[in-house]
Each structure stands twice: as C-alpha cells, then as structure tokens.
C-alpha cells in the first residue's frame, strides 16, 4: 500500500496533510478505502463546524456497510470536498488526492499521529 511520506496518519485510518496557513486537509487512506469497498455516500461535517480529534464527524457508506468518519485533529472546518459528495467513488479511485474529504483549521493536534512508515506497519499488521 502506498502511503505518501509527507502525510501523517491516525489509527482510525485518516490522513492529515501538513498545515498551510494553519489549515490541513483530511481524507481516508487507501487501506481504509479498500477495506470499505465501493463508497456510495459520504456525509461530511459542515463548513464552520468544530470537529474534535478522535470523535465522529460524518459517515462513509459503502455497498456493504456504514463507517463513522473520525477527525484526526481538533479544529474548525473551513472547506469540504463537494466533488466527493457528488461522486463518492473518488474516495476509492484517488483517496490521497481528488478523494480528500475536508479542510480544518487545526486548533489542537493529538499526540500519537503516525508517520507514513509507522502507519504502513500498523495497517499491515491489522490486515494479517
């Protein structure tokens, strides 16, 4: 599984980009997208919402199941990806790019976010 080096990762399988002007982008990993199967519906937080690290802020629905979307950080939502609301399959086809979910002005980052290598080891271990 290809996990981009410049991102950080949560154990709930979200990725977080580096902050630009204090704003980071959030998505789910390719590992998570593969495990879900074809994503058919996404419910994202609204712009202006406050999200809390480790707490549910939306849901991802695939053919077979519904999964909670957790926020990897605490902060205020500044944008959501309207493209992915329109076409949820972007989560599967481009989880680290066009399939990003929302942007957040980071107020607080929890300890314990993983590096790409740490996340690769973590997600591989979970698989076996």
């Amino acid at each position: 599984m290809n996990n981009p080096q410049q991102l950080r990762y949560s154990k709930e399988h979200e990725w977080l980009s580096g902050a630009e002007d204090g704003v980071s982008t959030v998505g789910i990993t390719e590992h998570a997208a593969n495990a879900l199967g074809d994503v058919v519906f996404v419910q994202l937080p609204e712009v202006g919402d406050t999200v809390t690290a480790g707490e549910s802020c939306g849901e991802l629905e695939s053919t077979k199941s519904v999964s909670e979307l957790y926020s990897p950080v605490t902060g205020e939502v500044t944008a959501i990806n309207e493209d992915v609301v329109e076409d949820p399959s972007l989560v599967n086809s481009a989880p680290f790019e066009g399939g990003w979910l929302f942007k957040v002005r980071v107020a607080e980052e929890p300890a314990g976010l993983l590096s790409a290598d740490e996340y690769t080891a973590f997600s591989t271990g979970e698989e076996s």
Partner: protein, 375 residues
C-alpha cells in the same frame, strides 16, 4: 448459526486461485469465500451486461436416492417434488411442523429415483439433519454430498456462448430450471440452467479435483467477451435487484411461506401428508382473513442506503422493517426489500420512508423485482 466452538474456516477447492486473483476474502457460514476481486460494482455490471464467474462451492448438496425418493421428498418438503420431471429443477422450501421456514432449496431430479437437494450454506447441516430424520420409514437414502461437489456458476448474457464453446451438451434444449449431466472442458459436470442473479446462466456441479481446471477453462473461454470473476458482494446486489429472497433476511423460521408472500411454493393438493401441512393450512387461512405484512420493494429518492433491520415509517409510525438493502448499480439508487403493513404495500403508496439512523428518508414503494432481464 451453530453454538459450537469457532473452528478454522473451510476452504473451497478454488481457494488458492482466489488468492492468486487478489480476492478480498470473507467468512461466510464457516467458509472463507471471495467477497470481491476488484470493485463489486464492476462485477455486478459485468454480470448484467457480459458474464461473471462465481465459486459457490459452499452451497450444501444432499443426494436423495431410493424407490420412494419422490414420495419421501413430497413428505419432507412443501412442494410437489414427485411432479418434477427428470432433468428439471424446482424452487421449494423445507418447513418446520409449525410452518416456519427452515430453508429454501433447489431440488434437481437427476433420475427417476435420484434427486439432488441444494441448501444454503448456513443451513446445510440443519437441512441434512431434518431430511435424515424425516426419511424414517421411507425406502430412501439421504446422503451428505457437500464434499463431493464444487460448484461454479457462470452468469450473464454471454454465458450461453461461453459454455457452448466448451461443451457438446444441448444447451439450447436446456430450459431455465433444468439440469443435465454432461462434459464441460473435458470435465464431467451436472450442467444446470439456474442461478441467483436474475440473468441467464449456468451452475456447474463438478468434483472438487476438477474445479481449478474448469474455472481456468471458463476464464479463457470468456476472455474475449468480458467475463470476470465475481464475489459474494455482487451476488447479493444482483439477487436483490432480481427480488430474490435470501435466507436470514427475507426468510426465517419465524415466517411461514404465506408470511413471505411465497404461497405458490406450498402444494396442499399433492398426494399424501407433509411436514407442516396443518400449520400451513392455518397460516393460509390467517393470511386470507388478516393480510400479513407484505414483502415490497423500496427505491430511495435520496442517496442514503437502507440496511437490514431499519424501520420503515409513514406518518411518524413504524409500518415495517427493511430485510435487505444496498445501492443498486443498475438503478443508480439505493434499493431495499422490506416487509410493510398491507395498508402501505401498494406500489406508489405516498409518504413512506426509511429511518436511516434517525433521519426519515423518503422512499418509493414498488412491486418486486426491481430488475427483469429482457428475454
């Protein structure tokens, strides 16, 4: 499910092949089965428009032989099995004495005194036990043949062409719900024109040691027409679109065939007594006087997917329950099967919704099936 200690999942004869194809595997009724190989939506569309290849070796085959095989099956099951011609198959059910559905079955008549009963994987042992018990006093032998067969299905509009290139069997003469012994790709097989997808297609019962060879021959024969391997995930959305019931969802021991809207499978007029007759007569009468909940189709106006167990609502009241739900690749919208009160069951009934985790999403009531193939 049985209450025995969890054991290692069972593997079909095609297990290594599935893994080499990169299948995502899942536990299904104690078997490690392919859920999907790539995108379940693509697999679904392949079956609707081209062809798909399935490993169904987890299904439970039970052979019934003997001079009184026909009379025995008429006693043990609710259908008129004695009237099935040699080389034909019938959809039927096995019920408890109280009328509750133990399983739905396909019964193939292979010879005058030989039948093959195919049970759902999750119920195979229950059906085997019930048949064995009910055979007492009949000149009939019930044989567990679960390990004797691998089952490969090729389904979709291209499936007759694919199979024709591999067999001399008279496929044109093989009607829907019929089966005959033959040879496919040099492998002895029971060739049945049955399936669970709503498409034309074939189910091939072969010895497990021939499964890999047959799978590879079908893959090669289907190369030019877009055949793809398919998993259980798309099998579920295909059968849902086709309005076919699934045990544990639309069918259970707490429902009689009359509660499930499958009155037609119960043949009171057949010769002799059968298990469940009294209770089913009463169930038929009850259904007549006081219509039970009706199995209907629901089509979402929005995009949220109903799941089994979700409440169907109208005017703030619960009027039913979803039994199966999924996004329909063919309709492009979420669909569901649900049991709803008779008053809300008519197609087009206004104001019906599904409670999706607290939000009442609007749904259209339609008659089943959602999808019917063009013949």
């Amino acid at each position: 499910m049985s209450s025995t200690e969890p054991t290692e999942p069972r593997h079909t004869a095609l297990d290594a092949l599935h893994r080499s194809l990169g299948a995502t595997m899942t536990d299904f009724a104690g078997w490690d089965m392919p859920l999907r190989y790539g995108s379940e939506r693509d697999e679904h569309v392949a079956v609707r428009t081209r062809a798909g290849l399935f490993d169904l070796s987890h299904m439970g085959e039970i052979t019934v032989t003997g001079a009184e095989a026909a009379a025995f099956l008429n006693f043990a099951l609710v259908g008129n099995i004695a009237s099935v011609g040699v080389g034909r198959a019938r959809y039927t059910m096995i019920c408890q004495a109280d009328g509750g559905i133990l399983d739905d079955l396909i019964v193939y008549r292979l010879a005058d005194t030989e039948y093959m009963v195919v049970a759902n994987a999750s119920n195979a042992q229950v059906v085997l036990d019930a048949l064995t018990e009910r055979a007492a006093g009949f000149d009939a032998e019930v044989r567990d043949d679960r390990d004797a067969y691998a089952l490969i299905a090729v389904q979709g509009p291209q499936s007759p062409g694919i199979l024709k290139s591999l067999t001399d069997a008279d496929l044109d003469g093989l009607k829907y719900y019929a089966g005959l012994p033959g040879t496919v790709a040099g492998v002895p097989a029971l060739i049945a024109r049955t399936g669970y997808t709503g498409e034309d297609g074939f189910e091939l019962f072969v010895k497990p040691e021939h499964a890999v060879e047959l799978w590879q021959a079908l893959t090669k024969a289907g190369e030019g027409v877009g055949l793809v391997p398919c998993g259980l995930s798309c099998r579920d959305t295909l059968r849902l679109e086709a309005g076919m019931p699934l045990y544990g969802h639309e069918l259970s021991t707490s429902l009689t065939p009359f509660d499930a809207g499958l009155d037609r499978v119960v043949k009171f007029e057949k010769e002799g007594d059968f298990v469940g007759r009294e209770a089913l007569l009463q169930a038929a009468e009850r259904a007549e006087q006081n219509p039970p909940r009706v199995l209907v189709g629901l089509i979402a106006e929005g995009r949220r997917v109903p799941r089994a167990g979700y409440a169907v609502v109208a005017g703030g009241e619960v009027i039913g329950e979803v039994t199966s739900g999924a996004p329909s690749p063919t309709l492009g919208k979420p669909i569901a099967m649900a049991y709803v009160d008779a008053a809300h069951a008519a197609p087009g009934t206004a104001g019906v919704g599904v409670d999706i985790r607290g939000s009442h999403e609007p749904y259209e009531v339609v008659a089943l099936p959602f999808y019917k193939r063009q013949k």
